[in-house]
Amino acid sequence: MSAVLDVVLSSAFLAAVLRVSTPYLLAAFGGLVAERAGVSNIALEGQMLSAACTGALVAGYSGSVALGALCGVGVATLLGLLLAALRLELGADVIIAGIGLNLLASGGTAYAVFTLLDDKGGTSGLKSGSLPAVPLPGIDSIPLLGDVISGQNMVTWLAFLTAPVIAWLFYRARFGFHLRAVGEMPDAAASVGIPVRRVQYTGLALSGALAGLAGVFLSMGYVSFFVRDMTAGRGFIALAAVFLGGLRPWGVFLAALGFGAAEALAVQLGTLDVPPQLVSTIPYAMTLVALAVYAWRRRRQAGVEVAASV
């Protein structure tokens, strides 16, 4: 047990938590924005994957990391708009359309990489570089804190900054009010003159962009190349964080951080005598239980309200 504690309290572990949480945070906020706009974004996974692939490919061929990141986020944004268009213009089931987009991303990225580089695995043969880390002069000499937060990737900083920004957007900005109103009751929102479609398109674009940033981090921060299906289900986990966090910005923040911490722990414990696969099931089991408890409480509340109104 003390060995486990040593691992958990080390600065390397805490730094790893921040790093591993980054894609979860960004994708979860993406999922949150879409969910609150009333359109579940199951395609987070595919948007991340497309962004990761596009980012590495563009950066590799153009030599510009910034351009790569920009194109990656751009592609994911377009996929968000495509999902919105499928839902709003063509009456598609948003879950099934999301599954379709995920398939498209999985096949499309692998096809693109194979066609361009003749490589089944990924873009490791292409030098694409990664987004810069942010050293913090002054702070990096402070014992524990410096090791943890100095030298983190710029996307990690962006991810953590996203939380207050989303909270502000939701509860202080006009767009956030509109977004929540549209998600809650589109007809009522339309009746007071909120442009429902435009709000949903914007929300889905923002959702895609955030997922795209998460994907770009994977291939241009976490590592510096694209690997086939490298998102490995992170988009779905982010979606779980959205529900586990009760659809509130800070709740989602904590849930995503929890998933990141659990994954980092699973990696660290691999060196000890604990099966890492079993450790990594903990957050999912937690989500499952939380989902049940949350639903049960909501149902009981609804039951009380019905009883009171009779």
């Binding site: 579940s40 199951i42 499928l86 213009e89 063509l90 009456g91 598609a92 089931d93 879950i95 099934i96 359309a97 599954i99 379709g100 987009l101 995920n102 398939l103 498209l104 999985s106 096949g107 499309g108 692998a110 096809y111 693109a112 194979f114 066609t115 089944k120 289900g233 779905f236 986990i237 979606l239 779980a240 529900f243 099966p275 696969q277 079993l278 990594s280 099931t281 999912y284 089991a285 989500t287 499952l288 989902l291 049940a292 949350y294 639903a295 049960w296 909501r298 149902r299």
Partner: protein, 370 residues
Amino acid sequence: MTGTLVETEDRRQYKATRRRGLTVDLSMTLATILAALAIGFLVMLLTGNDPVGAYEAMLTGPLERSFRVGRWLEDATTLTLLGLSVAIPFRARQISLGAESQLYAGALAAAAVAVFLPLPPVVAVIVPLVAAAAAGAGMGLVPGAMKARLGANEIVATLMLNAIVVRVYDYLVNGPLKEPGSSAVHSKSIQQDSALTPLSDWFGIPLGRANVGLLLMVFTAVALWLLITRTPLGYRIRMTGSNPEFAEYGGIRVPRVIEWSFVIGGAVAGLAGAHLVQGVYGRLEPGLAGSLAFEGIVVALLARNNPLVVVVAGLFYSYLRAGGDIMEQQTDVGTEIVVVIQAVIVLLVTAQALPDLLKRRLARREVAGR
């Protein structure tokens, strides 16, 4: 006398409507497939490949040698079972994405019996199958009960369950169930008597790993079709899917029906796991199912959740998969183009307003042309 005359007249009309519905369904499906293939053609053309050669290899390849036919049939068996497993909850309008967890649970149960429990012949084949179906059903019951009794979101519940079961499976195959003394990661092989008989034994031509699981799959599809169209439970499932409030009002216990749809789907996915263990690999291997579980969803969608059509869709789909592999060997085109084509099929199927939109466009053009 007149009564029976009216009845036969009614019956005739009813049958005609059904036939027309089926024709529309079939032609829509066909149009979707052709459109998706056309888009695949364009993608290959734009990426500098030779689409004609690629499609030739893809569409004729699987039939050229008997073992390729075997590969196709073996793949189609698993894929169709998975498609059937989601078609049932889909019929009750439950978006169950849990086929993966149910398949792995089934595979584990089948292997546990088939590797470790000595049984007389015939029984040795059946007991693991039953165990797999039971394990899959149990795995389906979890999200089913959560949805039916608590109203918990079934999409998140099934995704979480998948994540858990895949990891536990990975742990078991790498740890306690790993064959001792073997350098590669897999379990001990199943006993000879538990194997599903290869079709090669019957037909005397090499058919790879295709096995009697194929018949089991067809039998399952017919059974599910009968269940959906000819039994009270099937009626309740359809009612729940088309209008849950009305179903509830009509005295159907909707939560119970939802639970059953998950349990039945889970049992079928469990059989898919058993087929992989007893028919295809003969043991547990890491990542047994690959991406098949999600592709089962595509098959069910393409077949509009009609169990008999799922068989056709599954055969078609596996044909593309098998053809894609051959295409990659013979041409420069990656097999991934098949996944792209699949994705386009999904998007076209779900874009319900697309046909109407096209019709309106055409009508407008006609008006403008005059």
